[in-house]
């Protein structure tokens, strides 16, 4: 065994696959520059190359790939939204995710688990029914289930009525899934680089030169690059980067905290979410319980965790899944979420010509990685915003045409 390892380890024929070429110097000019090397930016780079043949592209990442919110979310993928705009958009993402491992030739550990959004009040049951009907109308599999169904489908769930918030039923969404979030970023990065896109890590944009309302070039810590078009995909720092380009956004940066437990053998198959209690929990393929809660009560640019969050989250989790009391928490962290007034993203054109934005993802950006990458690539390549993105234009905050999406996430509202 040891010798086998040594033999293959030292054999030059079996050297590890190099995903991204070693970083070179920046070229003086690119057709498209993508600011932000997270899932969304890398996906856009990949689809620009695959669908539109645009490969003179640079992705600029100030630290390492997927080191921001891509690596901090709780990796849930679903499309059981409330508005037709939301359902249509996220369903496209779910469809892309399903084949992503195959397409990228990189296992993202996509695992379809079924997704339960618990309802603790009559009004929550009514909303669940509403969401289920909108979903079914648009061809998305969702159904309302009640206590007797839940007892069979999730035997671990505490259905006692002798608790603060007894469970009355749930919105069941069978296609709900989880995936390995880092792998999504790496998979896209690898394929995009293979198709010709350049990925520059440790490259921070420090200035954006705009002339006559048109973006001309970017100042980075590694020099100036002129660019045809720019895509900003820097969740958490969106306001700060857009300010460099000269405009403000309807976004507050609010941390969202999450944690994982000690890994144990697989005991919880589905993803359990409670919108009223601000709780979501699933068991990863590693066996860790991944848990998340509500966004923090006020904005800050900081990723530290707090005891307040842990207390609030655990109070509810122990009531829903009492066995969790046996498990210690292993890690706790926070990501910076872009919160918009209508809990919907901001995508497409900006006041600056040739400068496109992909922001405002709040607490639900990971599940949209594929579709936003694909559609933003289309927007950049054609210069026309696709119909599916129209409801999410930045302009809606000027015309008071907000998206009424309250099914956006289980948190924050």
């Amino acid at each position: 065994m040891v010798f086998g390892l040594l033999k293959y380890g030292l054999n030059p024929r079996f050297h590890p696959k190099e995903f991204i070429k070693e970083s070179r110097d920046l070229k003086p000019s690119y057709d498209v520059v993508i600011i932000g090397g997270g899932g969304h930016g890398l996906a856009a780079a990949y689809y620009l190359a695959r669908d539109w043949g645009i490969t003179n592209v640079a992705v600029l990442e100030k630290s390492w790939l997927g080191g921001g919110n891509t690596g901090r979310n709780t990796a849930i993928i679903r499309s059981n939204y409330l508005t037709p705009e939301g359902v249509e958009f996220y369903d496209e993402s779910v469809q892309l995710y399903k084949n992503l491992s195959q397409e990228l030739d990189y296992n993202i550990l996509y695992s379809e688990r079924g997704h339960f959004t618990l309802a603790h009040t009559d009004s929550a049951i009514r909303t669940s029914r509403w969401r289920a009907e909108v979903n079914k109308h648009l061809g998305v599999n969702s159904e309302v289930v009640y206590r007797d169904d839940l007892a069979q489908m999730v035997p671990l769930l505490n259905l006692s009525e002798d608790v603060r918030y007894p469970v009355l039923g749930a919105l069941y969404h069978p296609p709900g899934a989880i995936a390995r979030h880092d792998a999504v970023a790496w998979g896209y990065a690898g394929r995009a680089a293979e198709l010709g896109a350049e990925i520059h890590q440790n490259t921070e944009v420090i200035g954006i030169n705009v002339e006559n309302d048109k973006v001309i070039s970017l100042e980075t810590n590694k020099g100036t690059v002129t660019c045809g078009k720019v895509l900003q995909a820097v969740a958490g720092q969106s306001s700060e980067v857009s300010r460099l380009a000269g405009f403000d956004l309807p976004i507050r940066t609010i941390p969202l905290q999450a944690c994982v437990s000690l890994p144990v053998k697989p005991i919880l198959d589905p993803i359990i979410v409670s919108g009223s209690l601000h709780v979501y929990i699933s068991q990863s393929d590693r066996g860790e319980f991944v848990m998340g809660g509500s966004t923090d009560p006020y904005p800050r640019y900081q990723t530290s965790s707090s005891l307040d969050f842990m207390e609030g989250l655990m109070g509810h989790i122990l009531e829903l899944l009492p066995f969790m009391g046996e498990l210690p928490v292993l890690r706790q962290w926070a990501g910076l979420a872009d919160m918009t007034p209508d809990f919907s993203p901001v995508m497409g054109e900006t006041p600056v010509q040739n400068y496109y934005i992909d922001a405002g993802w709040g607490t639900w950006g990971f599940k949209a990685t594929c579709v936003s990458g694909k559609r933003m690539a289309e927007t950049l390549a054609t210069g026309v915003t696709p119909k599916i993105l129209e409801p999410f234009a930045l302009d809606r905050f000027r015309t008071f045409d907000l998206v009424g999406e309250k099914g956006a996430a289980s948190v924050g509202h």
Binding site: Q237, S239, E240, D248, L249, P250, I251, R252, T253, P297, Y298, P299, R300, Y301, Q302, S304, D308, P341, F397, R398, T399, F400
Partner: protein, 124 residues
């Protein structure tokens, strides 16, 4: 940030407070364009660094202004809104705005109504 120094109640646990948005000038809705009004309602500065914000001590329903650093998550200074909002502002239609505003400004220095108006908007 675990303790906040409330100008009215002294040092209190941070959980007793709610955030109320950035302090920004309230435009007169009768005089500004729709665009300017929309921008007042929705657009945020969302600065990484030093900011000026509304906070409320919930048990006493007392609104005040705090200087905070969003990167360090530290409040440096808190004070009563009267330090910034020195006179009452009435948002009246253009025809009588000049008359009334001056009049009321003289009569209602430090009136809490203007503070409430601002906080409601900041909180939206």
């Amino acid at each position: 940030m675990k303790i906040i120094n409330c100008p009215l109640n002294g040092q209190r646990n941070a959980q007793e407070f709610v955030y109320g948005g950035e302090v920004e000038p309230h435009p007169n809705p009768h005089l500004v364009s729709d665009d300017e009004w929309a921008s007042y309602v929705f657009i945020e500065k969302n600065l990484s660094g030093k900011v000026l914000e509304w906070w409320c001590h919930v048990p006493t329903a007392y609104w005040f202004i705090a200087e905070r650093d969003t990167k360090l998550d530290e409040i440096f200074k808190t004070y009563d809104p009267s330090k910034i909002f020195k006179e009452r502002i009435d948002f009246l239609p253009p025809e009588d705005s000049s008359k009334k505003t001056t009049e009321s400004a003289v009569n209602n220095m430090h009136n809490t109504d203007s503070i409430k108006k601002n906080t409601t908007e900041g909180n939206s």
